[in-house]
Amino acid sequence: MEPIIRVENISKTFQANNGQVEAVKNISFSIEKGDIFGIIGLSGAGKSTLVRCLNLLEKQSEGNIYIDGKNLMKLSSKELRKQRQDIGMIFQHFNLLMQRNVVDNICFPLEIAGVGRKQAKKRALELLETVGLTEKARAYPAQLSGGQKQRVAIARVLANNPKILLCDEATSALDPQTTKSILNLLKEINQKYGITIVVITHEMAVVREICSKVAVLDHGRLVEEGTVEALFGAPKTEEAKQLILNTYA
Protein backbone atom coordinates (compact mmCIF):
# COMPACT_ATOMS: atom_id res chain seq x y z
CA MET A 1 0.00 0.00 0.00
CA GLU A 2 1.17 3.51 -0.79
CA PRO A 3 2.27 5.22 2.45
CA ILE A 4 0.36 8.39 3.28
CA ILE A 5 3.58 10.39 3.43
CA ARG A 6 6.63 9.53 1.36
CA VAL A 7 9.71 11.71 1.59
CA GLU A 8 12.36 11.12 -1.07
CA ASN A 9 15.86 12.52 -0.76
CA ILE A 10 14.89 15.94 0.41
CA SER A 11 17.42 18.60 1.29
CA LYS A 12 16.90 22.15 2.38
CA THR A 13 19.54 24.85 2.29
CA PHE A 14 18.91 28.33 3.68
CA GLN A 15 20.77 31.38 2.47
CA ALA A 16 21.69 33.09 5.70
CA ASN A 17 23.63 36.33 6.10
CA ASN A 18 26.75 34.46 7.10
CA GLY A 19 26.68 31.85 4.35
CA GLN A 20 24.52 28.79 3.74
CA VAL A 21 22.82 26.62 6.34
CA GLU A 22 22.06 23.05 5.33
CA ALA A 23 19.12 22.44 7.65
CA VAL A 24 17.98 19.14 6.10
CA LYS A 25 20.38 16.80 4.32
CA ASN A 26 19.12 14.15 1.90
CA ILE A 27 16.38 12.67 4.03
CA SER A 28 14.08 9.83 2.98
CA PHE A 29 11.37 8.04 4.95
CA SER A 30 7.76 6.93 4.76
CA ILE A 31 4.83 7.15 7.14
CA GLU A 32 2.01 4.64 6.99
CA LYS A 33 -1.60 5.67 7.25
CA GLY A 34 -2.86 5.76 10.83
CA ASP A 35 0.60 5.84 12.44
CA ILE A 36 1.77 8.24 15.10
CA PHE A 37 5.23 9.00 13.84
CA GLY A 38 7.80 10.81 15.97
CA ILE A 39 10.69 12.92 14.75
CA ILE A 40 13.15 13.65 17.53
CA GLY A 41 16.39 15.53 17.71
CA LEU A 42 18.12 18.32 19.56
CA SER A 43 17.20 21.92 19.02
CA GLY A 44 18.53 23.01 15.63
CA ALA A 45 18.58 19.48 14.22
CA GLY A 46 16.24 20.48 11.40
CA LYS A 47 12.96 19.03 12.70
CA SER A 48 10.83 22.10 12.10
CA THR A 49 12.30 22.62 8.66
CA LEU A 50 11.58 19.02 7.74
CA VAL A 51 7.99 19.10 8.95
CA ARG A 52 7.33 22.45 7.28
CA CYS A 53 8.33 20.84 4.00
CA LEU A 54 5.50 18.33 4.42
CA ASN A 55 2.89 21.01 3.71
CA LEU A 56 5.23 23.15 1.65
CA LEU A 57 5.36 26.00 4.14
CA GLU A 58 9.01 25.56 3.29
CA LYS A 59 10.04 24.54 -0.19
CA GLN A 60 12.75 21.91 -0.18
CA SER A 61 15.85 22.62 -2.25
CA GLU A 62 15.96 19.07 -3.57
CA GLY A 63 13.90 15.89 -3.51
CA ASN A 64 10.21 15.05 -3.61
CA ILE A 65 7.38 14.65 -1.15
CA TYR A 66 4.36 12.53 -1.91
CA ILE A 67 1.16 12.85 0.10
CA ASP A 68 -1.23 10.01 -0.68
CA GLY A 69 0.85 9.36 -3.78
CA LYS A 70 0.56 12.98 -4.99
CA ASN A 71 3.78 14.87 -5.59
CA LEU A 72 3.48 18.20 -3.74
CA MET A 73 5.84 19.92 -6.16
CA LYS A 74 3.49 19.16 -9.05
CA LEU A 75 0.51 20.96 -7.49
CA SER A 76 -0.63 24.37 -8.68
CA SER A 77 -0.92 26.97 -5.93
CA LYS A 78 -4.68 26.46 -5.87
CA GLU A 79 -4.33 22.69 -5.60
CA LEU A 80 -1.73 23.17 -2.88
CA ARG A 81 -4.12 25.30 -0.81
CA LYS A 82 -6.72 22.57 -1.18
CA GLN A 83 -4.20 19.91 -0.22
CA ARG A 84 -3.21 21.86 2.88
CA GLN A 85 -6.75 21.52 4.19
CA ASP A 86 -6.00 17.80 4.44
CA ILE A 87 -2.82 18.42 6.42
CA GLY A 88 -3.49 20.14 9.72
CA MET A 89 -0.73 21.67 11.80
CA ILE A 90 -0.45 22.62 15.46
CA PHE A 91 2.32 24.65 16.98
CA GLN A 92 4.30 25.22 20.15
CA HIS A 93 2.83 28.69 20.61
CA PHE A 94 -0.70 27.69 19.50
CA ASN A 95 -0.93 30.55 16.97
CA LEU A 96 -4.56 31.39 17.62
CA LEU A 97 -6.11 34.60 16.35
CA MET A 98 -5.95 36.81 19.43
CA GLN A 99 -8.75 39.13 18.32
CA ARG A 100 -11.25 36.32 17.78
CA ASN A 101 -13.02 34.30 20.41
CA VAL A 102 -12.71 30.54 20.65
CA VAL A 103 -15.65 29.68 18.41
CA ASP A 104 -14.56 32.13 15.74
CA ASN A 105 -11.04 30.74 15.86
CA ILE A 106 -12.40 27.29 15.10
CA CYS A 107 -14.59 28.74 12.34
CA PHE A 108 -11.54 30.25 10.63
CA PRO A 109 -10.40 27.17 8.65
CA LEU A 110 -14.04 26.56 7.71
CA GLU A 111 -14.28 30.11 6.36
CA ILE A 112 -11.17 29.39 4.30
CA ALA A 113 -12.80 26.23 2.99
CA GLY A 114 -15.90 28.21 2.06
CA VAL A 115 -18.29 26.70 4.60
CA GLY A 116 -21.31 28.87 5.45
CA ARG A 117 -21.40 30.81 8.71
CA LYS A 118 -24.19 28.87 10.34
CA GLN A 119 -22.85 25.46 9.49
CA ALA A 120 -19.35 26.50 10.55
CA LYS A 121 -20.59 27.62 13.96
CA LYS A 122 -22.41 24.37 14.48
CA ARG A 123 -19.33 22.37 13.58
CA ALA A 124 -17.16 24.57 15.83
CA LEU A 125 -19.38 23.85 18.81
CA GLU A 126 -19.26 20.11 18.13
CA LEU A 127 -15.48 20.25 17.99
CA LEU A 128 -15.33 22.21 21.23
CA GLU A 129 -17.16 19.36 22.84
CA THR A 130 -14.66 16.88 21.38
CA VAL A 131 -11.80 18.76 23.03
CA GLY A 132 -13.77 19.35 26.22
CA LEU A 133 -13.97 23.15 26.19
CA THR A 134 -17.63 23.88 25.59
CA GLU A 135 -17.82 26.39 28.42
CA LYS A 136 -15.06 28.51 26.84
CA ALA A 137 -16.85 29.09 23.54
CA ARG A 138 -17.05 32.87 23.98
CA ALA A 139 -13.70 33.34 25.69
CA TYR A 140 -10.75 35.00 23.96
CA PRO A 141 -7.38 33.22 23.72
CA ALA A 142 -5.84 35.70 26.17
CA GLN A 143 -8.23 34.38 28.81
CA LEU A 144 -7.15 30.74 28.40
CA SER A 145 -4.34 28.65 29.85
CA GLY A 146 -1.71 27.09 27.59
CA GLY A 147 -3.39 23.70 27.65
CA GLN A 148 -6.76 25.22 26.82
CA LYS A 149 -5.24 27.19 23.96
CA GLN A 150 -3.75 24.02 22.52
CA ARG A 151 -7.15 22.33 22.81
CA VAL A 152 -8.67 25.16 20.80
CA ALA A 153 -5.89 24.77 18.25
CA ILE A 154 -6.65 21.05 18.04
CA ALA A 155 -10.36 21.70 17.58
CA ARG A 156 -9.48 24.23 14.88
CA VAL A 157 -7.20 21.81 13.08
CA LEU A 158 -9.87 19.09 13.09
CA ALA A 159 -12.49 21.36 11.54
CA ASN A 160 -11.76 20.40 7.94
CA ASN A 161 -11.32 16.67 8.70
CA PRO A 162 -7.61 16.45 7.89
CA LYS A 163 -5.97 13.14 7.01
CA ILE A 164 -2.67 14.18 8.53
CA LEU A 165 -1.86 16.19 11.62
CA LEU A 166 1.58 17.76 12.00
CA CYS A 167 2.54 18.72 15.55
CA ASP A 168 5.62 20.91 15.89
CA GLU A 169 6.64 20.90 19.56
CA ALA A 170 2.94 21.04 20.39
CA THR A 171 3.51 20.29 24.06
CA SER A 172 6.84 22.00 24.60
CA ALA A 173 5.30 25.10 26.16
CA LEU A 174 3.15 23.06 28.56
CA ASP A 175 3.74 21.61 32.01
CA PRO A 176 4.03 17.80 32.34
CA GLN A 177 0.46 17.36 33.56
CA THR A 178 -1.03 19.36 30.68
CA THR A 179 1.34 17.68 28.25
CA LYS A 180 -0.08 14.35 29.27
CA SER A 181 -3.66 15.43 28.74
CA ILE A 182 -2.89 16.90 25.32
CA LEU A 183 -1.05 13.72 24.31
CA ASN A 184 -4.05 11.68 25.40
CA LEU A 185 -6.28 13.87 23.29
CA LEU A 186 -4.01 13.33 20.28
CA LYS A 187 -4.06 9.58 20.85
CA GLU A 188 -7.83 9.69 21.02
CA ILE A 189 -8.02 11.63 17.77
CA ASN A 190 -5.70 9.17 16.09
CA GLN A 191 -7.86 6.24 17.15
CA LYS A 192 -11.26 7.83 16.64
CA TYR A 193 -10.69 9.46 13.27
CA GLY A 194 -7.73 7.45 11.98
CA ILE A 195 -5.73 10.62 11.44
CA THR A 196 -2.04 10.07 10.80
CA ILE A 197 -0.02 12.15 13.25
CA VAL A 198 3.53 13.41 12.89
CA VAL A 199 4.97 14.48 16.22
CA ILE A 200 8.04 16.71 16.21
CA THR A 201 9.68 17.07 19.58
CA HIS A 202 12.91 17.32 21.49
CA GLU A 203 11.25 15.58 24.46
CA MET A 204 11.89 11.85 24.49
CA ALA A 205 9.07 11.29 26.95
CA VAL A 206 6.54 12.52 24.41
CA VAL A 207 7.75 10.02 21.83
CA ARG A 208 7.64 7.18 24.34
CA GLU A 209 4.16 8.19 25.36
CA ILE A 210 2.39 8.20 22.00
CA CYS A 211 4.52 7.29 19.01
CA SER A 212 4.66 3.93 17.29
CA LYS A 213 7.57 4.74 15.01
CA VAL A 214 10.31 7.29 15.32
CA ALA A 215 13.07 8.90 13.32
CA VAL A 216 16.12 10.53 14.86
CA LEU A 217 17.46 13.72 13.32
CA ASP A 218 20.94 14.96 13.98
CA HIS A 219 22.49 18.00 12.30
CA GLY A 220 20.03 17.74 9.43
CA ARG A 221 20.57 14.02 8.84
CA LEU A 222 18.22 11.17 9.57
CA VAL A 223 20.50 8.90 11.56
CA GLU A 224 18.14 6.19 12.74
CA GLU A 225 14.58 5.10 12.18
CA GLY A 226 12.47 2.33 13.62
CA THR A 227 9.86 1.37 16.19
CA VAL A 228 9.88 3.18 19.51
CA GLU A 229 10.68 -0.06 21.39
CA ALA A 230 13.65 -0.80 19.14
CA LEU A 231 15.05 2.71 19.38
CA PHE A 232 14.74 3.12 23.12
CA GLY A 233 15.58 -0.53 23.81
CA ALA A 234 18.64 -0.84 21.61
CA PRO A 235 19.66 2.29 19.77
CA LYS A 236 22.01 1.41 16.92
CA THR A 237 23.73 4.71 16.28
CA GLU A 238 25.93 6.80 18.51
CA GLU A 239 23.74 9.88 17.93
CA ALA A 240 20.58 8.08 19.05
CA LYS A 241 22.38 6.71 22.10
CA GLN A 242 23.62 10.15 23.04
CA LEU A 243 20.18 11.65 22.59
CA ILE A 244 18.49 9.08 24.80
CA LEU A 245 21.25 9.12 27.42
CA ASN A 246 21.44 12.92 27.63
CA THR A 247 17.75 13.34 28.20
CA TYR A 248 17.63 10.80 30.96
CA ALA A 249 20.90 11.78 32.60
Binding site: R81, R84, F108, P109, A142
Partner: protein, 220 residues
Protein backbone atom coordinates in the same frame (compact mmCIF):
# COMPACT_ATOMS: atom_id res chain seq x y z
CA UNK B 1 -16.47 87.87 24.50
CA UNK B 2 -16.38 88.37 20.69
CA UNK B 3 -19.06 89.89 18.50
CA UNK B 4 -21.39 87.81 16.38
CA UNK B 5 -19.30 87.96 13.17
CA UNK B 6 -16.16 86.77 14.89
CA UNK B 7 -18.03 84.01 16.65
CA UNK B 8 -19.54 82.85 13.36
CA UNK B 9 -16.15 83.02 11.75
CA UNK B 10 -14.68 80.81 14.48
CA UNK B 11 -17.52 78.31 14.15
CA UNK B 12 -17.17 78.20 10.37
CA UNK B 13 -13.42 77.87 10.77
CA UNK B 14 -13.86 74.92 13.09
CA UNK B 15 -16.13 73.18 10.60
CA UNK B 16 -13.74 73.95 7.76
CA UNK B 17 -10.87 72.47 9.75
CA UNK B 18 -12.84 69.35 10.57
CA UNK B 19 -13.92 69.04 6.94
CA UNK B 20 -10.38 69.31 5.61
CA UNK B 21 -9.01 66.97 8.23
CA UNK B 22 -11.58 64.24 7.91
CA UNK B 23 -11.85 64.25 4.11
CA UNK B 24 -8.06 64.29 3.76
CA UNK B 25 -7.76 61.47 6.28
CA UNK B 26 -10.29 59.46 4.33
CA UNK B 27 -8.50 60.02 1.00
CA UNK B 28 -5.20 59.47 2.78
CA UNK B 29 -6.39 56.02 3.81
CA UNK B 30 -7.85 55.25 0.39
CA UNK B 31 -4.29 55.52 -0.89
CA UNK B 32 -2.30 54.79 2.27
CA UNK B 33 -4.04 51.58 3.37
CA UNK B 34 -3.37 49.65 0.15
CA UNK B 35 0.10 51.19 0.07
CA UNK B 36 0.82 49.98 3.59
CA UNK B 37 -0.55 46.53 2.82
CA UNK B 38 1.65 46.22 -0.27
CA UNK B 39 4.69 47.41 1.70
CA UNK B 40 4.00 44.88 4.46
CA UNK B 41 3.49 41.87 2.20
CA UNK B 42 6.25 42.57 -0.33
CA UNK B 43 8.86 43.02 2.38
CA UNK B 44 11.53 40.29 2.73
CA UNK B 45 9.66 38.83 5.68
CA UNK B 46 6.22 39.36 4.17
CA UNK B 47 3.87 36.80 2.65
CA UNK B 48 4.60 37.85 -0.95
CA UNK B 49 8.21 39.08 -0.90
CA UNK B 50 9.05 41.25 -3.91
CA UNK B 51 12.21 43.27 -3.59
CA UNK B 52 11.55 45.44 -6.67
CA UNK B 53 8.06 46.58 -5.68
CA UNK B 54 9.11 47.07 -2.07
CA UNK B 55 12.16 49.17 -2.94
CA UNK B 56 10.25 51.40 -5.36
CA UNK B 57 7.41 52.09 -2.93
CA UNK B 58 9.81 52.46 -0.03
CA UNK B 59 11.76 55.07 -2.00
CA UNK B 60 8.66 57.01 -3.04
CA UNK B 61 7.35 57.03 0.53
CA UNK B 62 10.66 58.22 1.95
CA UNK B 63 10.96 60.87 -0.71
CA UNK B 64 7.48 62.28 -0.12
CA UNK B 65 7.90 62.16 3.62
CA UNK B 66 11.14 64.10 3.53
CA UNK B 67 9.50 67.11 1.88
CA UNK B 68 8.35 69.60 4.54
CA UNK B 69 4.58 70.04 4.35
CA UNK B 70 4.66 73.77 3.69
CA UNK B 71 6.94 73.26 0.71
CA UNK B 72 4.82 70.39 -0.59
CA UNK B 73 1.79 72.62 -0.28
CA UNK B 74 3.34 75.23 -2.56
CA UNK B 75 4.88 72.63 -4.89
CA UNK B 76 1.58 70.94 -5.70
CA UNK B 77 -0.37 74.17 -6.22
CA UNK B 78 -0.59 73.71 -10.01
CA UNK B 79 -1.99 70.22 -9.45
CA UNK B 80 -4.40 71.52 -6.82
CA UNK B 81 -5.58 74.18 -9.24
CA UNK B 82 -6.07 71.60 -11.96
CA UNK B 83 -8.14 69.33 -9.70
CA UNK B 84 -10.14 71.79 -7.61
CA UNK B 85 -10.09 74.87 -9.83
CA UNK B 86 -8.38 77.09 -7.26
CA UNK B 87 -5.36 76.76 -5.01
CA UNK B 88 -6.68 78.38 -1.81
CA UNK B 89 -9.51 77.55 0.57
CA UNK B 90 -10.37 74.37 2.46
CA UNK B 91 -11.36 72.17 -0.46
CA UNK B 92 -8.15 73.01 -2.28
CA UNK B 93 -6.08 72.19 0.80
CA UNK B 94 -7.41 68.63 0.74
CA UNK B 95 -5.15 67.91 -2.25
CA UNK B 96 -1.76 68.62 -0.57
CA UNK B 97 -3.04 67.21 2.71
CA UNK B 98 -3.89 63.92 1.05
CA UNK B 99 -0.57 63.82 -0.76
CA UNK B 100 1.29 64.44 2.49
CA UNK B 101 -0.86 62.02 4.50
CA UNK B 102 -0.91 58.98 2.20
CA UNK B 103 2.75 57.95 2.46
CA UNK B 104 2.83 58.59 6.16
CA UNK B 105 -0.36 56.57 6.64
CA UNK B 106 1.13 53.86 4.43
CA UNK B 107 4.14 53.68 6.72
CA UNK B 108 1.99 53.41 9.83
CA UNK B 109 -0.19 50.71 8.27
CA UNK B 110 2.95 48.84 7.23
CA UNK B 111 4.35 48.89 10.73
CA UNK B 112 1.02 47.86 12.29
CA UNK B 113 0.73 44.88 9.95
CA UNK B 114 4.30 43.85 10.59
CA UNK B 115 3.52 43.52 14.28
CA UNK B 116 1.17 40.61 13.55
CA UNK B 117 2.59 37.36 14.92
CA UNK B 118 4.34 35.38 12.15
CA UNK B 119 3.11 32.17 13.73
CA UNK B 120 -0.52 33.13 13.24
CA UNK B 121 0.14 33.91 9.58
CA UNK B 122 1.85 30.58 9.22
CA UNK B 123 -1.09 28.82 10.86
CA UNK B 124 -3.42 30.44 8.32
CA UNK B 125 -1.15 29.34 5.48
CA UNK B 126 -1.12 25.81 6.85
CA UNK B 127 -4.94 25.85 6.66
CA UNK B 128 -4.76 26.70 2.97
CA UNK B 129 -5.53 30.41 3.25
CA UNK B 130 -4.68 32.46 0.15
CA UNK B 131 -2.99 35.85 0.13
CA UNK B 132 -6.22 37.83 0.10
CA UNK B 133 -7.68 35.91 3.04
CA UNK B 134 -4.51 36.38 5.03
CA UNK B 135 -4.49 40.12 4.37
CA UNK B 136 -8.13 40.58 5.17
CA UNK B 137 -8.69 38.17 8.03
CA UNK B 138 -5.30 37.78 9.64
CA UNK B 139 -3.27 40.94 9.03
CA UNK B 140 -6.05 43.53 9.18
CA UNK B 141 -8.08 41.58 11.72
CA UNK B 142 -5.26 40.97 14.16
CA UNK B 143 -3.74 44.44 13.75
CA UNK B 144 -7.02 46.30 14.12
CA UNK B 145 -6.25 48.00 17.44
CA UNK B 146 -2.84 49.10 16.26
CA UNK B 147 -4.42 50.33 13.00
CA UNK B 148 -6.93 52.36 14.99
CA UNK B 149 -4.21 53.94 17.06
CA UNK B 150 -2.62 54.77 13.72
CA UNK B 151 -5.84 56.43 12.54
CA UNK B 152 -5.85 58.56 15.66
CA UNK B 153 -2.27 59.66 15.11
CA UNK B 154 -2.93 60.28 11.40
CA UNK B 155 -6.00 62.44 12.03
CA UNK B 156 -4.16 64.45 14.67
CA UNK B 157 -1.21 65.02 12.37
CA UNK B 158 -3.41 65.99 9.42
CA UNK B 159 -5.27 68.43 11.64
CA UNK B 160 -1.94 70.03 12.49
CA UNK B 161 -0.99 70.19 8.81
CA UNK B 162 -4.34 71.70 7.93
CA UNK B 163 -3.68 74.50 10.41
CA UNK B 164 -0.27 75.04 8.86
CA UNK B 165 -1.88 75.53 5.47
CA UNK B 166 -3.36 78.75 6.89
CA UNK B 167 -0.08 80.45 6.00
CA UNK B 168 -1.00 80.26 2.32
CA UNK B 169 -4.74 80.81 2.69
CA UNK B 170 -5.72 77.23 3.31
CA UNK B 171 -8.97 78.01 5.12
CA UNK B 172 -10.09 76.81 8.54
CA UNK B 173 -8.78 77.70 11.97
CA UNK B 174 -5.16 77.96 10.86
CA UNK B 175 -6.16 80.55 8.33
CA UNK B 176 -7.95 82.58 10.99
CA UNK B 177 -5.01 82.33 13.35
CA UNK B 178 -2.63 83.60 10.68
CA UNK B 179 -4.89 86.40 9.50
CA UNK B 180 -5.78 87.75 12.92
CA UNK B 181 -2.83 86.74 15.03
CA UNK B 182 -0.05 87.38 12.57
CA UNK B 183 -1.26 90.12 10.28
CA UNK B 184 -3.52 92.08 12.64
CA UNK B 185 -2.00 91.33 16.03
CA UNK B 186 -5.43 90.36 17.43
CA UNK B 187 -3.82 87.74 19.60
CA UNK B 188 -7.00 86.98 21.54
CA UNK B 189 -8.60 85.54 18.40
CA UNK B 190 -5.47 83.57 17.66
CA UNK B 191 -5.48 82.30 21.20
CA UNK B 192 -9.06 81.05 20.88
CA UNK B 193 -8.27 79.23 17.62
CA UNK B 194 -5.41 77.51 19.38
CA UNK B 195 -7.69 76.42 22.19
CA UNK B 196 -10.22 75.07 19.70
CA UNK B 197 -7.47 73.18 17.86
CA UNK B 198 -6.19 71.66 21.08
CA UNK B 199 -9.69 70.64 22.13
CA UNK B 200 -10.35 69.08 18.70
CA UNK B 201 -7.17 67.03 18.87
CA UNK B 202 -8.00 65.89 22.40
CA UNK B 203 -11.51 64.82 21.42
CA UNK B 204 -10.32 62.93 18.34
CA UNK B 205 -7.57 61.22 20.31
CA UNK B 206 -9.98 60.34 23.08
CA UNK B 207 -12.43 58.72 20.67
CA UNK B 208 -9.67 56.83 18.84
CA UNK B 209 -8.01 55.49 21.96
CA UNK B 210 -11.30 54.50 23.50
CA UNK B 211 -12.34 52.59 20.38
CA UNK B 212 -9.03 50.79 20.07
CA UNK B 213 -9.09 49.79 23.72
CA UNK B 214 -12.63 48.57 23.41
CA UNK B 215 -11.76 46.48 20.38
CA UNK B 216 -8.64 44.92 21.86
CA UNK B 217 -9.07 41.31 22.98
CA UNK B 218 -5.44 40.56 23.60
CA UNK B 219 -5.71 41.15 27.33
CA UNK B 220 -7.58 38.89 29.68
Amino acid sequence: MFDETIRNMLIDGTWATLYMTLVSSLFGYVVGLPLGIILAITDKEGIKPNAVIYKILDFVVNLTRSIPFLILLIMVMPLTKAIVGQSYGSTATIVPLTIAAAPFIGRMVESSLKEVDKGVIEAAQSMGAGTFTIIYKVLLGEARTSLLVGVTIAVGTILGYSAMSGVVGGGGLGDIAVRYGYYRYETDIMFVTIIILVVLVQILQGIGMMLSKKLDRRRA
